[in-house]
């Protein structure tokens, strides 16, 4: 084995190495969320803007762009999940005998449920992809833009969220994502060694604000649709 390969293996097998992987992939995923949200908010502008944006994405780099993005995201997603599951398993093993009484002094609920919020988000993402990307619902897949001959993304979103159970699941999942981010974003800085006495407070505030923006931005859409503020026509 070359020294480089051996170092990579050792890095991956070490606890800190895995966490660095989680943090780096976390940056990609956190960044993706911001982009995704910006696109989604076009719903408020209207059908044309939304569908233009969808078309732009589909034709970026002659159609290759979206596949490159999907490959990067999928890789990050898988690495993020595999690393955290492995870390969680070794963490559980490190405390073989549980305390009879354990009191927390600093940690937060969000930090303690990271693996559960994460796994719920995983389930949600699978559903979400089937729903809006693979479009297993033929009714949503067949929607056409009434002005230009293309798929009606705008219509799909509105129709999709008019289904109350779907919207509720979406809101619950996004709430857990908010919790996940409130701990995760700050953790990126700590894991990459960017947190210090001077930056500690700012990182915490940034992490909370970011999580809140993502949460409010995303859930505003199904809520607006259910309240009839955004409608199909």
């Amino acid at each position: 084995m070359s020294p480089l390969v051996s170092t990579i293996c050792q890095f991956w097998s070490s606890s800190i190495g895995k966490k660095v992987v989680v943090a780096l992939t976390g940056i990609v995923l956190v960044g993706f969320l911001a982009g995704h949200l910006a696109g989604n908010l076009l719903v408020y502008v209207g059908r044309e803007a939304t569908n233009d944006y969808a078309e732009f994405l589909m034709h970026l780099l002659h159609g290759a762009g979206i596949w490159i993005a999907r490959a990067v995201l999928l890789t990050c997603f898988v690495l993020h999940i595999v690393a955290t599951i492995q870390l969680t398993r070794s963490n559980r093993a490190a405390r073989a005998d549980a305390y009879e009484v354990k009191t927390s002094v600093r940690t937060t609920l969000s930090a303690r449920v990271m693996i559960w919020s994460g796994l719920t988000i995983l389930a949600f993402v699978i559903f979400h992809l089937l729903h809006f990307t693979v479009r297993i619902d033929q009714g949503l897949a067949d929607l056409r833009d009434p002005l230009v001959d293309r798929h009606d993304t705008y219509g799909m979103v509105v129709r999709g969220f008019q289904n109350v159970p779907v919207s509720l699941f979406y809101i619950v999942a996004l709430t857990l994502l908010c919790s996940h981010l409130s701990h995760g974003v700050a953790s990126i800085f700590q894991t990459l060694g960017l947190r210090s006495k001077k930056t500690r407070g700012a990182i915490k505030v940034f992490s909370w604000i970011y999580a809140a923006i993502i949460w409010l931005g995303f859930i505003s859409i199904p809520i607006s649709i259910m309240l009839g503020l955004v409608h199909f026509d």
Binding site: S15, R95, E100, F189
Partner: protein, 250 residues
């Protein structure tokens, strides 16, 4: 004051342990927590029982020998103190107090509340030092050190190696300990030549000992009797990542 104690009793490393209820009578509130246990043990001995075994030595908060998880918090409810400096006036008459060992797979129980923390020694042996042979040192003032660096190094060096960070961490991670030990040396110019190999070796030994890893709960910071900041963990993360890159490509 009178108290009800729920104490972990375990005959030996391989024995099965359980909680035992022990009454503590007529405890003066000026007594330290360990003196309260002394009083309880004295009575157990008089009554022909087996006294509770617990680790302690200097009883002034510096040797790091005493441990105990008290009501679920390593070193108990007071901030910035070890168990030996915790005084009974922090409790109220009639309280029930749960006393357990520092629990972690890497800290096996020896007996009752005594655990084996030799994993910490092995982490230091792996690289937690500056290699300087006795007699080969240059003049002490030959190497001025920026006061700010010296102070930060000192803050890390106050670690007493008690293991409360491991006991408090939901993942039984010793990152506060390892971070503090590494930062103490890495922040000093004397420590720079061995920085990379030190960090790689200490982290690898830490993983080999069966500790968990840090997921940024900061429980360690909250119970550390020397109030060491988790900034040392951030520094260790960064130094480990950089050292790995250098090891792989440079």
């Amino acid at each position: 004051m009178n108290l009800t104690l729920k104490i972990w009793r375990q005959e030996g490393p391989d024995a099965k342990g359980q909680m035992q209820t022990v009454e503590a009578r007529d405890i003066p509130e000026e007594a330290s927590f360990l003196e309260m246990l002394d009083i309880v043990n004295e009575r157990i001995i008089e009554e022909g029982g087996d006294p509770v075994q617990f680790d302690h030595d200097c009883r002034e908060g510096i040797c790091g020998t005493c441990s105990l998880t008290i009501n679920g918090v390593p070193h108990g409810p007071d901030n910035g103190v070890t168990t030996c400096q915790l005084h009974m006036r922090k409790f109220r008459d009639g309280d029930t107090i749960w006393i357990e060992p520092f629990r972690a797979k890497a800290f096996p129980v020896v007996r009752d509340l005594v655990v084996d923390r030799s994993a910490f020694d092995r982490i230091i042996a792996a690289g937690g030092y500056i290699s300087v042979r006795t007699g080969s040192a240059p003049d002490a003032n030959g190497l001025p050190i920026e006061k700010d660096h010296a102070d930060q190094s000192f803050d890390a060096a106050t670690c007493i190696g008690c293991g409360a960070c491991v006991a408090a961490c939901p993942n039984a991670s010793p990152m506060l300990f390892v971070g503090a030990k590494a930062s103490h040396l890495n922040l000093l110019p004397q420590g720079k030549p061995e920085l990379d190999i030190r960090v790689l070796a200490m982290v690898r030994q830490m993983d080999a000992e069966g500790f968990g890893n840090c997921t940024n709960h900061y429980e360690c910071e909250g119970v550390c009797p020397k109030e060491i900041s988790a900034d040392v963990i951030a520094r260790l993360n960064r130094e480990y990542a950089c050292a790995s890159v250098k090891e792989g490509v440079a």
